[in-house]
């Protein structure tokens, strides 16, 4: 296979995650087959990934935004909570790169500081749904029987509630107030997203457990007296981790976008928490767009680039892990 055609074949779609949910036990991802060792697959995927510019671009963007979330001081020396009403809605200038917003806040400083809330929600929601979803999925797949059916039914109920509508409803019941501490507000939004998103991971994990479980080496391990815990950690997890991590990376991008949408609607994070969704919400409205489009454009750009970096990374890694390409 020539270099060119190899590259062409590998550009698969970002398959919408929920399709998996509807079509039952088929997976989004081709599972690494049992005969390919985890190491050789990993090494092959890495060789494949290194050659892709998309991989390096998305990785660099992702690391940049994560760095921004952890150390915003590195990117700006201005105080995002300092407002000068005299400068309200001033256009971008050499003094303020992205201009000023309606309150006279520096848009660049706030955009940099906004990364923390948005990315934290994404990472926490992914972590919650990953941990809970995999745990439940492993139990369902490993134990089978009535427990599996019960978990399956419950997952179906949560899947039937659209993410954004469910998020609106849950956050309506547990609203964030102005005096809610930062991490509680962020954790609440993340938890709500995770509550609605865990079934995707559960289904993925369950189907990979079912796929690995009947293999001879698992039977052999069991015959040798390995405990279920050992079988799961050393045989089942390595086989399913790759696909679950890819789906979670893509989910992370989707969750950041969901948080922004919820904040935009006024039910997610509330001011004074600085988040991209809040900034965009403040900047929208046709009167403002006309006089101060910079208020909208810059936070939107950062938000879109962050979401893009996670989705693109997941997409590229998925392609690299696809055994059909080798």
């Amino acid at each position: 296979m020539t270099d060119l055609s190899n590259k062409d074949l590998s550009r698969d779609a970002v398959v919408p995650l929920q399709v998996d949910a509807a079509s039952g036990p088929e997976e989004v991802l081709p599972q690494p087959s049992a005969s390919t060792g985890a190491r050789s697959l990993g090494a092959g995927a890495w060789r494949e990934l290194r050659r892709r510019p998309m991989f390096w671009i998305s990785l660099a963007l992702m690391l940049l935004f994560i760095l921004m979330a952890i150390f915003p001081q590195l990117f700006t020396s201005k105080d995002p909570a300092f407002a000068d009403l005299n400068k309200a809605r001033q256009k971008p200038s050499s003094e303020a790169l992205f201009g000023y917003d309606s309150q006279g806040y520096d848009v660049y400083a706030r955009t940099v500081y906004g990364a923390r809330a948005s990315i934290s929600v994404g990472i926490l929601a992914t972590a919650f749904s990953l941990i809970f979803g995999s745990l439940v999925g492993i139990i369902a797949g490993y134990r089978g029987g009535w427990l599996d059916s019960v978990i399956g039914r419950i997952a179906e109920i949560f899947l039937a509630i659209p993410l954004l509508l469910g998020g609106i409803l849950f956050l309506y019941t547990f609203p964030n107030e102005i005096d809610t501490p930062f991490w509680i507000a962020v954790g609440k939004v993340a938890l709500v997203i995770a509550i609605l998103a865990w079934p995707t991971i559960t289904r993925l994990m369950r189907s990979s457990v079912l796929q690995v479980k009947p293999n001879d080496y698992v039977q052999a391990a069991r015959a040798l007296g390995a405990s279920p815990g050992r079988i799961i950690t050393s045989h089942i997890l390595p086989n399913s981790l790759a696909s679950v991590i890819v789906v979670s990376t893509i989910n992370l991008g989707v969750f950041i976008s969901t948080e922004a949408a919820l904040s935009f609607l006024g039910v997610g994070l509330q001011p004074p928490v600085i988040s991209w969704g809040n900034m965009i919400s403040d900047a929208s409205g046709i009167g403002l767009i006309r006089v101060a489009p910079h208020m909208l454009l810059f936070p939107s750009l950062f938000l879109s680039l962050t979401v893009l970096s996670f989705i693109m990374l997941g997409d590229v890694v998925r392609d690299a892990l696809d055994p059909r390409l080798r």
């Binding site: 929920q18 949910a21 659209p162 609106i168 409803l169 006309r290 879109s304």
Partner: protein, 296 residues
């Protein structure tokens, strides 16, 4: 199907009515409600009874078309009924755009696999997926509404012309997913044995793609469009807010801000029911499209 409906509606109901905090709160504006009002409200919605009984009584009313009264004392069913035509019009326009552009872009990319057009479609769809709907909506307002003046910036009356821009915005993300899904399926099917056989026995490329491959590739896309209706409903809340369309989404948005629990529960219950029914229809359609799948 039935257990899922019951489970979902119960979850939605319990989220608003069973949790600590007074559901009557916020029904009297910023001031606390007088005790007599709280008592009347509690009685009307059976809040003094056990949760399961409350829920059963509520669902009994829902089946009879009564979703309770909102903040202003109007029946929620009535409020929804006057707004649904606009939202349905918007949703149908969005789905049409999604199908027309998404599927054709996917087919073009799939056939020109690896060529320039394919790269263009894959990269541009990834970009569209990453831009949140509300950003896209505001940008469309700025560019096509204010700068170019092609379309009205808001859609108060909900006419076809006014809804074109909102429908494109609402369709954008799903359109990108449909295109990618269509492309992947087409590429995969074009590589399959039955296509090779069809080509080997001398069928033209148009016929192999048009007759043999397309039908098989459409199946997952149709499922996706059914599931996507959920995302479309969420998107409608945002789109209707941005373009000030007087539809169900905007009603939900305003109900949330007025802390009108009855209207919120009623609207979301109604939307989720529609979503589930639509997916039932898709499941049935599935069997028609693909005879290998039976609906037994």
């Amino acid at each position: 199907m039935i257990p899922v409906i019951i489970g979902c509606t119960f979850l939605i109901y319990a989220m608003v009515f069973a949790l600590p905090g007074n559901p009557a709160e916020g029904r009297c504006g910023d001031r606390p409600c007088p005790p007599s009002y709280v008592a009347a409200f509690t009685k009307e919605y059976n809040l003094d009874k056990p949760l399961l009984v409350q829920y059963a009584l509520y669902m009994g009313n829902v089946v009879r078309g009564d979703l309770g009264n909102n903040f202003y004392g109007n029946p929620v069913t009535h409020e929804l009924a006057i707004r649904f035509p606009t939202t349905i019009k918007l949703a149908l326009m969005a789905i049409t755009i999604e199908i027309a552009i998404g599927i054709s872009a996917g087919i073009v990319a799939g056939i020109r696999h690896g060529k320039f057009l394919d790269n263009l479609v894959t990269v541009s769809t990834l970009v569209v997926i990453s831009i949140p709907v509300f950003v896209l909506g505001s940008l469309a307002q700025l560019i096509f509404g204010v700068k170019l003046g092609w379309f009205p910036v808001t859609s108060l009356k909900g006419t076809f012309y006014e809804l074109i821009m909102p429908a494109f915005v609402l369709a954008s993300v799903s359109l990108a997913y449909v295109a990618r899904l269509m492309r992947t399926n087409l590429v995969e099917n074009l590589r399959s044995d039955y296509v090779r056989t069809a080509r080997a026995k001398g069928l033209s490329r148009g016929r192999t793609v048009g007759v043999h491959t397309l039908r098989n590739s459409l199946i997952p896309v149709i499922t996706y469009i059914g599931i996507d209706l959920g995302a479309l409903m969420g998107g409608a809340v945002i789109t209707e807010r941005i373009f000030n369309i007087n539809g169900v989404g905007n009603f939900l948005y305003r109900s949330i801000h007025q802390k009108d629990g009855v209207a919120v529960v009623g609207t979301i219950t109604c939307l989720v029911l529609i979503f589930l029914l639509a997916n039932l229809v898709v499941d049935i359609l599935y069997g028609v499209l693909d005879p290998r799948i039976s609906n037994d």
